[in-house]
């Protein structure tokens, strides 16, 4: 049983997905989905523990030995990612039930299909993370993307449909670019296994085909992770999707794409090729900086708060890419640790917004006046998430910002460090706008709002507290992240 954990990690949500479509609407289908998520989380934590004690796990799928069969290969980096995806998946699933019953565009008897799409999306994300086969990445990527298009289109606003369509077009172009890239790699090396690719690429690295493959893969994955200026699909998709979906996707989908980028740059192409020959850092650094700055500024002027946080996500992705472009252990630690911390903070923030829209039916800033006094617990969670987003000490967000600034200073790039601090101040501005409206503006008199129900509050606070906990207890979000960074760069033990 314990040997088959890597397969079960993907198979359990995959099997639970069609099963939940057979259920009637109600508590049972949610319990099934919740159980599948919980088991995934359990398996992910067991795998992380196993990787940390025993080193890399290699699992031949269907007992076909790698490089012929599909290999699942788990090291510190993807064990860490699995934990993020499964953890957020479970917490948001707990949150989702109330939202599904009342706030999505689905007639009651179709509600179980929400869980099918959600579990499939999770399967895809876990699969991308766990696999050691380049083509398998594409397949799982499409599984997660197709189901996320469905999930986004379930938003009540009709603009959710166009947002989902736009994401479908951009996402498919991105995925097809990845497919071309993988095809070109296969032409030159005759293999799809990642370790095998890494071994064979150096011999043929100095060819136009490999360079073209590199370019296609970089652009394709950058579309999926919404790197500035390829982020245009993201704000609408996040703003109009149901809040549970936004929380889940914002916390996991783009993070997994960043992981794919790391895997391709560092494991498959290798540091020397990606950053020595191709000088990718010279491309990523300006895009990351412009992305961080412009998205933070745009966020300040949004009136729809979900949209504001979506732009903030684009900026946060900029921080992650900035960490990659430093090409140092500290920079990469910042990136990987920010994957984790950003999942916690955006999960908490979007769920808090979900609570607000559940009660007042909108997340427009001007309608949120006085919400802070009517819904103290919800806004409390929002403030904690906001502080973490800004990077205040004692919150999780501080840990990754700290590494990022240290990494920039190690390189002597002090203007970059200053820019990180300035953009953190911009985050203060846009979070403060919400806090000011919610706490200091009088509520409209005809407007009676009560606190969000407990099934929504508990998961929201679970993530909010996690932001505080991981701000103090940094063995996972800094310790494991550092291990993963050293492994990817090929230094250290």
């Amino acid at each position: 049983m314990i040997d088959h954990l890597p397969a079960l990690q993907v198979v359990i949500p995959l099997m639970a997905a069609p099963l939940s479509a057979l259920f009637r609407p109600g508590r049972a289908v949610w319990l099934l989905a919740m159980t599948a998520c919980g088991l995934s989380l359990l398996i992910a934590s067991l795998l992380l523990q196993q990787v940390l004690t025993q080193g890399i796990i290699s699992y031949p799928m269907g007992n076909w030995p790698a490089p012929w069969g599909i290999e699942y290969r788990i090291d510190a980096a993807n064990a860490f990612m699995l934990l993020i995806v499964a953890g957020i998946g479970t917490v948001v699933m707990a949150f989702a039930r109330t939202i599904v019953e009342q706030r999505i565009r689905l007639s009651e008897y179709k509600q179980p299909w929400f869980y099918t799409a959600y579990l499939l999306c999770m399967t895809g994300l876990l699969g991308i993370t766990i696999t050691g086969d380049a083509f398998n990445v594409f397949v799982f990527l499409e599984i997660s993307s197709l189901s996320s298009y469905v999930l986004i289109s379930l938003g009540r606003d009709r603009r959710a449909l166009t947002a989902s369509y736009q994401y479908l077009i951009m996402g498919t172009i991105g995925a097809t670019f990845i497919l071309i890239g993988i095809g070109l790699l296969y032409v030159m090396t005759g293999t799809l296994n990642m370790m095998d690719l890494a071994a064979r690429i150096p011999a043929v690295a100095d060819t136009r085909t490999i360079r073209a493959a590199f370019a296609f893969l970089t652009i394709g994955v950058s579309l999926k992770l919404a790197l500035f200026p390829l982020h245009l699909w993201l704000p609408n998709a996040y703003a109009y999707a149901p809040s549970a979906v936004t929380a889940f996707l914002a916390a996991t989908a783009t993070k997994v794409a960043v992981y794919v980028l790391l895997r391709f740059f560092f494991t498959i192409f290798g540091v020397d090729f990606s950053f020595g020959t191709m000088r990718l850092d010279l491309v990523l650094l300006p895009l990351a900086l412009v992305g961080i700055f412009s998205a933070s500024v745009v966020a300040i002027f949004q009136t729809n708060i979900k949209r504001m946080l979506a732009y903030s996500s684009v900026a946060q992705i900029g921080y992650m890419i900035l960490g990659i472009s430093l090409v140092s252990v500290t920079g990469l630690t910042a990136t990987i640790s920010h994957l984790f911390n950003h999942a916690l903070m955006k999960g908490a923030l979007f769920m808090a917004l979900g609570c607000i829209s559940f009660r007042i039916g909108t997340v427009q800033l001007d309608r949120m006046a006085g919400v802070g006094r009517a819904m103290p617990w919800t806004m409390g969670a929002f403030v904690v998430g906001g502080l973490s987003l800004i990077g205040v000490p004692l919150t999780a967000g501080f840990v990754s910002k700290w590494y990022l600034i240290v990494g920039a200073l190690e390189k002597g790039w002090w203007p970059v460090a200053v820019l990180v601090l300035i953009t953190s101040l911009l985050a203060v501005v846009y979070i403060w706008r919400v806090v000011e409206t919610a706490y200091f503006k009088p509520a409209p008199e005809d407007h009676v709002v009560s606190e969000a129900p407990l099934p929504l509050l508990i998961p929201t606070w679970a993530l909010a507290l996690a932001n505080l906990y991981f701000g103090l207890e940094t063995s996972i979000n800094a310790g494991v992240a550092r291990k993963a960074a050293e492994m990817l760069l090929g230094v250290g033990p």
Partner: protein, 119 residues
Amino acid sequence: MQILGLYNYWIFIVLMMCGFYVVISRGNLVKKLVGLNIFQTSVFILYISMGKIIGGTAPIIVDRDVVYSNPIPHVLILTAIVVGIATTSLGLALVVRINEAYGTIEEDEIHDQSEEDAL
């Protein structure tokens, strides 16, 4: 001669660019999907070309030595075709929903109506 000999790769590139151009330039949501389809199909040709060996047969084990085509790219692209079908059907389903919600499938008209929603 070498350029002409690689004509299937040229077809791949031309089709890919045509499809991509249609996706970008057309405002009609169905036409965009058509473009996307051409774009995806071009990649199928890339994969099928690279598995083909001139004079090769089907990869079946027989007693004598034979040259056979590499089956793996062909199998891979079967998967990609399935993905393409799923994407197209989902895209068309979304277009139907959009048409129900907005009464049009022209991008600029939808954009105008969305602007009104925002007010």
